[in-house]
Symmetry: C2
Subunit: 451 residues, 2 copies
């Protein structure tokens, strides 16, 4: 069913007070569609709709909402309703919620949370942001090493309802050390009496609680698992991360890279583009603009030094935009490929010379092609061989500098533990601008005997 259709039906049910029909209808709507529904109905209807949901559904829907809407909703809910949500949601979602709510709301949430869950939440909150620990949930199926397949099914049958996933089950010792993993498929195929020790996979890919979330996402991408176990320093199983959270991390990290590469400051409490306020947008953009603006004044300063050359031969100035733009674009191409290569682990810092050698050769091919195109055009337009020579030579130098800087700076940034993504087009453009203008006027001065 299309979203428009769903919304029309919901509105229709409410307007005609067909509450029983609406309740039934809502239970069959996918929880992930509710944020769209809530966006498209009047605000006072949201709480009516929400209160019609079953306890389980209400919790599922709650988790799907964005933080603003969660906060608004909590302020409308009774303590019992909050308690119901907190009883049902998985611990990783509970932690996300608490991290994003203002303190008075957090207080209300925690006072309506079971003591045992509150304890787990407090434990999970201790893990730094962006680590495996902050992504994991504690609701997984753990099996003991001496069980047989039949026992495992018994455990799953009893506990599955409250577990985030049953696709992978984990085998632990009595002191909770991780021994192996069993895919539910292998459990289903196996003989009922077989000891699980025989069918478990002991070569478990796992992550430490403090592992960076980007590395977690990379592991999911590489190994095609649907869940990853998280262990502490003593190899004790403390949680699992499910693949849906890994996808969120991939999306979040990608967006951050896009922003950084466009000279935008990334912030933790991110909203969608349209929901972010004007001043927050401005704040996130202005710092880099100021830094880059001041840097580009350096290029202006160089030009100022050649004022007399310009007065003698004003035509020179006409080539500056082309040189600056081409340099910027060449640097942007190289740095984007290198930054992505680093992010995807296709390039490592030790490949720096391989990458430079590749960029140098690409730059020579590209530089000569562009220089020839320019040379021909200048000869045709101005019949001036000297200008054509100066511009062509500067262009080749500019392309080589741009490509090499675009390649080296991100790798060096990674080497010194900075984020390579800041060494992207904006910064490299500014540096290449300065260099290319310097080269241009120096060659010009020499060729035309200006000064």
């Amino acid at each position: 069913m299309e979203l428009e259709e769903i919304i029309a039906k919901v509105t229709n049910f409410i307007d005609n007070k067909k509450i029983k029909d609406l309740r039934e209808f809502l239970e069959n709507i996918n929880s992930a569609d509710f944020p769209n529904i809530f966006e498209n109905v009047e605000e006072d209807k949201i709480i009516i709709i929400y209160r019609l949901l079953s306890k389980e559904k209400a919790a599922e829907v709650f988790v799907e909402l964005d933080h603003d809407d969660q906060e608004k909703l909590i302020n409308c809910l009774t303590d019992t309703e909050i308690k119901n949500v907190m009883d049902e949601i998985y611990m990783d979602d509970a932690v996300d919620l608490i991290e994003e709510m203002p303190s008075n709301v957090v207080k209300r949430i925690l006072s309506n949370t079971k003591a045992e869950n509150r304890k787990i939440i407090n434990e999970l909150l201790k893990y730094p942001d962006d680590t495996a620990g902050s992504l994991m949930t504690t609701e997984f199926i753990d099996l003991k090493e001496n069980m047989c397949v039949e026992d495992a099914f018994e455990i799953i049958r009893k506990k599955a309802l409250k577990k985030e996933t049953v696709y992978n089950c984990y085998v632990v010792t009595v002191d909770r050390k991780l021994l192996g993993v069993i895919d539910i498929k292998d459990l289903l195929i196996a003989n009922r009496q077989e000891p699980i020790k025989e069918i478990m996979d002991t070569n478990v890919v796992k992550v430490h609680t403090l592992e960076d979330q980007e590395e977690v996402a990379r592991i999911f991408d590489k190994y095609d698992y649907v869940a990853l176990p998280v262990v502490d320093n003593e190899n004790r199983l403390v949680g699992i991360i499910t693949i849906d959270d890994a996808i969120d991390v991939i999306q979040e990290e990608t967006l951050e890279d896009f922003e950084k590469m466009a000279a935008i400051v990334t912030t933790e409490d991110r909203d969608s583009y349209l929901k972010t306020g004007v001043f927050k947008h401005a704040k996130n953009r202005i710092i880099w603009l100021l830094v880059l603006m001041i840097s580009s004044m350096l290029t202006g300063g160089i030009i100022e030094n050649f004022e007399s050359a310009i007065a003698t031969l004003p035509l020179l100035v006409a080539f500056i935009p082309m040189l600056m733009d081409t340099g910027g674009n060449c640097g942007s191409q190289a740095s984007t490929l290198i930054i992505r290569g680093l992010a995807m682990n296709e390039i490592s810092t030790k490949d720096i010379f391989k990458a430079m050698w590749k960029e140098l050769r690409v730059a020579i091919v590209v530089g000569i092609t562009l220089a020839v195109a320019n040379f021909v055009r200048i000869i045709l337009q101005y019949q001036d061989f000297k200008i054509a020579f100066v511009v062509g030579t500067t262009l080749i130098c500019t392309v080589i500098m741009a490509k090499l800087l675009g390649c080296v700076l991100p790798i060096v940034a990674k080497k010194i533990k900075l984020d390579p993504a800041i060494m992207a087009a904006p910064l490299i453009t500014t540096i290449v601008d300065t260099l290319s203008v310097l080269v241009f006027f120096n060659i010009s001065t020499y060729v035309f005997h200006l000064s």
Copy 2:
């Protein structure tokens, strides 16, 4: 175990001819680690290692390799060995393989494929690239509507080994129309005698064979499923897409966006950065560079028109780099946010006026801030109020034009079914350069009575 350790052990086993130990050791290594192992051992050892693997493992490892290595390996394998691989691999991987191999290799592969699989492969090859059909596999668990839970387990036990996933099972009518989906968790919890019709979810999120792969990835992201059913025009279940393929699509589409936004032509047969040859790199970059270079000559042309103004007041030129860079960066910020917003479905084309209104206000805040900073700096450096006024005013106009173009162009591109990602920094920078130089010289001419 760390990769270095694995490689050291493997080399050691081979050097000491401990073939039995090596065979045992290899079976416990994750298939996804083999590409790294192969990269780090001498080429003649690869085939030795590969031949030690069990039939299942050999197929798993084969799928993990990149296309170059697959081709090399096939050329070393006997027909029987190829047959073993083709018997074991999933149909979606088989199709990927065939799409990437040169025709003589394809011929050899197909002649060593079972007739029934060859038929399926030929069917799947008909779906256009980048559609759901080209991503799906035909190995899934399908249940009939009149079965009970016990029957379902019987089917799974018998067939699971050859199916890509058992996490979700699909319920179909006798003529294969999709009725519902059952998560293995619900099957495990349910009473053995319960009809599966009672526990299946009839509100199935599904995709059509011709659905765009980007949309498929978005659905996975939104609904947190581990597999999606694919149906034809008659709602007949023809395949499933698993989440690992969706992650690959997300990564691929993201990389394509990064490339497009950096003015790089994206190609279907992509290799990693270091494996791509110099001329291919150059070819992918040069077209846009030429187009943008020619466009930036327009800016040069404008400057040429104001040659006499420059001769009178050469200082003006010193501000051009700062204006150009700032305009480029502002446009880049806006277009990046809009392009990502469109890609993530946070912004739709009908939001164009909302987005423009937001960008206009952000531009005013940012523009005034930057203009004030510049104004103060120019007054301090040159004590020239007129220049400060001209530069400040141009800067505000530039920022507003850049932000509005960065916002409008990607949305318009989407509206007319172009990829918004081409309306990124490089193109917008070039356009804004021309406009800002035009504004700058016009205001200058007016204020300084130049001409």
